[in-house]
Symmetry: C2
Subunit: 323 residues, 2 copies
């Protein structure tokens, strides 16, 4: 076993932190270390916390940390900041997040500022989760900003996905629009101390009800809860629902644990293959100058992007063939 | 020229609507029609409107429509609803959007409920824009919900990308967090009738200032505007900024128009190639049963996902070779 693997499985913070950065930067040797770590993963319970900016996700995670630490559980937190394609980094880092747990040895907080596209975020998040998992954390909380594909990807990684809304934002139609109904295992209405909270609760419940006709009778029915995370109100009830969802998964999973269910493994593997293939193809395309040649032809009106695309894919296969 | 192509370029609404659905569903013959349409595209001015749910994007688009129609311009609107991977469709459709322009012949409104992932949204949006473009629309407005990769993709399609925020949501740190500073050509603070508007304006301006040191002196400096779209306040000034940005692009582009610039063609082509390759690989993987075999091996602990991934990519090349 390599030294890095050794240290990470012993829970060494510096090694884990360095490895997570390496995963993010996708440096070549990282895959071999992840291979080595793989047998040590699959034990942590992964919770995804998602919702629009301003709904109080970080405050909620902070309250969850306090709760889990009181129960003696160790926790890894992964704060996924959205891709910033130009500056290539998160502006807010670990510094201002969850300050009060920063000196607690049982808590390990990292933020991920994923670069690139095409599944890069999910890939890096998956790797970082494996690291926290191999460190022996009991729980891993993945906090993510954004509306759209990111949620879906994280829903596929986490055992339990929590969608956080606030009354003002989370009125019926908006939540629908964002298409987040389908990814939430638990819905939490945060900052529920104003007059809109009950309306939001009823709206969400009725929408989830509408959604139920597509589900089988024995499927998990996502509960809708109210909380004020900043005042630690409703957090105990919320944690109990996460526990209940975990029990449901253990009861219904076809693998030794949910993250090792065939469905989950299949999804992860396919994502990994896609990423790998795109990377390989893009690198070769840059090296051969084939892309630039096609761009010139299109710009000169000598071909169209659709024909050019077909040629490039055929060419890639030819390269693969000769290699 | 095919009949579909004929009809679309003549502006036939039914043919265009059907073609857009076909693009979304990615049915096989669609690529040939897009090839035919290609020479008729590149003339429309594409404006992207993006921002979190609840900031009033649809209201703004409605106000823009009124403005552009008063000037005699024809407009296509594409409302991109986020992926809903489970139900596979937008819940809100064209019906409740921009009702007041529904009977105007110079306006064509479509919503896109993109399925699939891995660039599927951008691919479908790009195709639908080509259709509206080939119909002869002067302007195409693409409205998109979401924070993250979607914005970036749309920023690459549109000539001018507008980021809409509201004072309550759009305070400094949150906007930073979402990484949208880099994709906006114009920032609009909507619902600017409350006390937070000026603070939001100053916050945004100072953040954009911070961002400027990475830009060259002759680069476009994104303006920050205030508006109340619902009351038609600030819309004229906003449209003037879009016009100014368009002039800037025409001055600085290396192609006959911005959408035909080499940078833009290169990006579009690469996205198309990635999509094509992934689709081809996934189909073959399903057909050979290779994926299921690997999943079984991983579930049995006989291999790990990283090794399995390498084997699959090598196998794909072998298939490509034998074909």
């Amino acid at each position: 076993m390599s030294e890095v693997c050794d240290k990470v499985t012993e829970g060494d913070i510096n090694s884990a932190a360095r490895l997570i950065r390496d995963i993010e930067d996708d440096i070549p040797g990282v895959k071999d270390i992840l291979k080595e770590l793989y047998p040590f993963t699959g034990n942590a319970y992964v919770i995804g916390i998602t919702g629009a900016p301003g709904v109080g996700k970080s405050t909620l995670v902070d309250a969850m940390l306090s709760h889990l630490r009181r129960e003696g559980k160790t926790v890894g937190v992964l704060a996924v900041d959205p891709t910033s394609p130009f500056s290539g980094g998160a502006i807010l880092g670990d510094r201002i997040r969850m300050r009060r747990h920063a000196l607690d040895d049982g808590v390990f907080i990292r933020s991920l500022a994923t670069r690139g596209q095409f599944g890069g975020l999910a890939r890096a998040a998956r790797g970082a989760i494996d690291v926290l998992d191999a460190m022996g954390k009991d729980y891993i909380i993945v906090e993510t900003v954004g509306v759209g594909q990111d949620e879906v990807d994280i829903a596929q990684i986490a055992q339990t996905t929590v969608v956080v809304v606030v009354p003002r934002l989370g009125d019926g139609i908006q939540a629908m629009k964002a298409g987040i109904l389908e990814v939430g295992d638990i819905f939490l209405i945060n900052k529920a101390d104003n007059e809109h909270a009950d309306r939001a609760l009823n709206d969400l419940k009725s929408m989830l009800g509408m959604n139920q006709h597509e589900r089988c009778a024995d499927r998990w029915r996502p509960p809708v809860l109210k909380a004020q995370a900043a005042a630690d109100i409703g957090v105990v009830e919320f944690m109990a629902e996460i526990e209940a969802h975990g029990q449901y998964l253990r009861r219904t999973s076809d693998g030794p644990c949910y993250r090792r269910s065939k469905e989950s493994v299949r999804h992860d593997l396919l994502e990994m293959v896609k990423y790998q293939l795109i990377e390989d193809m893009t690198r070769r395309l840059e090296n051969t100058g084939n892309l630039d040649r096609m761009v010139d032809l299109i710009a000169q009106g000598k071909t169209d992007p659709f024909t050019a695309c077909e040629e490039i894919v055929l060419n890639y296969r030819a390269i693969a063939k000769s290699q």
